[in-house]
């Protein structure tokens, strides 16, 4: 089996070769219950997800809007936990060895799990990277070495408030891809403006060769297509988790999004 980080790099290389942006789908582990969460996760690649973000449930998700908050609470209520999220990922890896999976969550459950043990177990379960929303570069020294040792990319976030002065701090030690937060605000509330995203992505590209995924505020196929013209990947989360009680509807939306993302650049040329 290839080293975990290879999956993210390989996927972005393949997307570049195809000349299109990727679709990153965010779903919450254990939401709305273990069985349906597994069905949702297992069906994402066939529905058109290029990369998967698997949310780790947390009781106090400060950076998330109502949809993801509700998803986290549903997961916890149904018995979800960090350990079970890793088990869900390990089960997924029995059916899929190529789709990159990035675990996304908050630091406290990882800190309590033990950063070193968490990185080891996450890599063993088949994770390729980590996004820890409330762990800025200034604080991530207690996770980064363990992530690197386990072969996990620690994906950094840049936002509209990350100016040129701060960008080098964010990029230093970043790996896998850069996650650009398109809006000021929490997940699933405001809509991302494609022209502003285009400017921001162009600005960031001058400082890094990492692929840039754009998320927060992409709700539907037209929105995804607009972002896919500029970014290397676009992330959809809140709109998906809102459908977690109906896995087939969720996969249906992923198919629509995938079609929009795949057609985005050809349409622009035409």
């Amino acid at each position: 089996m290839s080293r975990p980080t290879a999956r993210i790099a390989a996927r972005f290389a393949a997307l570049a070769a195809e000349g299109r942006a990727g679709l990153v789908t965010y779903v919450m582990a254990g939401d709305p219950d273990a069985a349906r969460a597994q069905a949702i996760l297992d069906g994402l690649p066939a529905a058109g997800a290029d990369i998967i973000e698997l949310g780790l449930p947390f009781s106090d998700p400060m950076a998330d809007g109502p949809a993801v908050q509700a998803a986290a609470l549903r997961s916890l209520k149904a018995g979800g936990s960090t350990r079970k999220a890793l088990a869900q990922l390990a089960a997924f890896r029995k059916t899929d060895q190529t789709t990159p999976v990035v675990l996304m969550g908050y630091f406290n459950p990882i800190y309590i799990y033990g950063p070193e043990r968490f990185c080891r177990d996450a890599a063993a379960a088949g994770a390729d990277g980590l996004i820890v929303v409330d762990l800025p570069p200034e604080e991530d020294a207690e996770l980064r070495p363990f992530a690197q040792a386990a072969g996990l990319d620690l994906v950094r976030l840049a936002t509209p408030t990350t100016d040129d002065k701060r960008l080098p701090t964010v990029l230093s030690g970043a790996s896998g891809f850069l996650y650009y937060v398109a809006v000021l605000g929490v997940t699933g509330t405001r809509s991302a403006a494609a022209d502003q995203v285009a400017t921001a992505v162009a600005r960031i590209r001058r400082s890094t060769t990492l692929p840039i995924a754009v998320g927060f505020g992409i709700k539907d196929a037209p929105g995804a297509a607009a972002i896919a013209r500029h970014a290397d990947a676009c992330v959809v989360g809140s709109a998906l988790v809102a459908l977690s009680d109906k896995p087939t509807s969720l996969h249906g939306l992923v198919r629509d999004l995938a079609a929009a993302v795949r057609g985005a650049r050809t349409k622009q040329i035409a």
Binding site: P57, F58, S59, D60, P61, M62, A63, G65, P66, Q69, L73, L76, S81, T82, R83, Y106, F107, N108, P109, I110, Y111, I112, Y113, V133, D134, L135, P136, E138, E139, R156, L157, A158, T159, P160, T161, T162, D163, R166, V170, V181, L184, G185, V186, T189, R190
Partner: protein, 403 residues
Amino acid sequence: MNQINSFRAGPDESGHFGLFGGRYVSETLMPLILEVERAYMAARKDPAFQKELDYYLAHYVGRPSPLWFAERLTKILGGAKIYLKRDELNHTGAHKINSCMGQILLAQRMGKRRIIAETGAGQHGVATATVCALFGLPCTVYMGATDIARQAPNVFRMKLLGAEVKPVTSGTATLKDAMNEALRDWVANVEDTYYIIGTVAGPHPYPMMVRDFQSVIGKEAREQFLAAEGKLPDKLVACIGGGSNAMGLFHPFLDDRDVSMDAVEAAGLGLESGKHAASLQGGRPGVLHGNRTFLLMDEDGQIDEAHSISAGLDYPGIGPEHSWLHDIKRVKYVAATDDEAIEGFKLLSRTEGILPALEPAHAVAHVARIAPALPKDYTIVMNLCGRGDKDIFTIGERLGVKL
């Protein structure tokens, strides 16, 4: 710590008190947090800023607050000599306004035009709404729906002062959820908004900044006590939720090794019941709301619901500097239950003619527990950080008082 022999040198440059503190916030907030830090460090060194703050504290807040020798309470308990630092006499009825005044002056310096805050008991919300009315700034206060129900008088006060009170129904609908919601608002409105945090928690520089503004309590108490007794007190006592009133009283005394300090956490229905808000005695280190500190949580790191009859202490965390002081054992952390707080409330009301808020009623309960066995020349200063008017309905109901 750069001064090895001082307990007052923290935090370090990255905002840590030993293992605790720090800046655990999303990237959107990071530049703003750094900007608040720069602005505060500049203001802290600016004599004009301190002069302006002193003016408002003296002429608007009503400082210095008296240090009252509680003679009848002392006699009835029959042991140690008890003084009360009367911060409940401040405008708005609690210590919270000390920090709100400092922070709104800072917000003005930073050119921020909109203020947000979280509140538990509503005292911080009222103090924030008050300074916003005074300076003509729009104010939004996030308050848990559970707390809105049990602290109705303060909700009315905030609304009458022109603040928008936004009920928070997510999570447990109490103080921690109000703080989550305020942080979400801030992320969405970073450009024009300043977040007035009510306690010595949150990301650096808040724990340091709120402590500095609240330290006026301890500085005054030190001078007043020296004038009254010609020595320093033997012990300081304060209640603790997030810990701002305790930090404010304790900090100026931290290097006076002979002054012992007891901080009283809310034991709710009892520490062994699991239904309490005693983060230091029932929790362990974790990361929430921008800092590492002792938290109540389950084995997966999910934050637990706190429990206390007092909305102001009903928080599953505690300021990071307290976690550090606990670790190095400079301050002793004890607890009082809901029932003991009610007894403390009754005791102070009937011996001194002062209705304490339910929060400092926990401190009264601890004083009542330890004073009788102490010698008569042993002196205690207790921070009476808020008045009980807001709690009369809760207490009346609990005691079955008929009107």
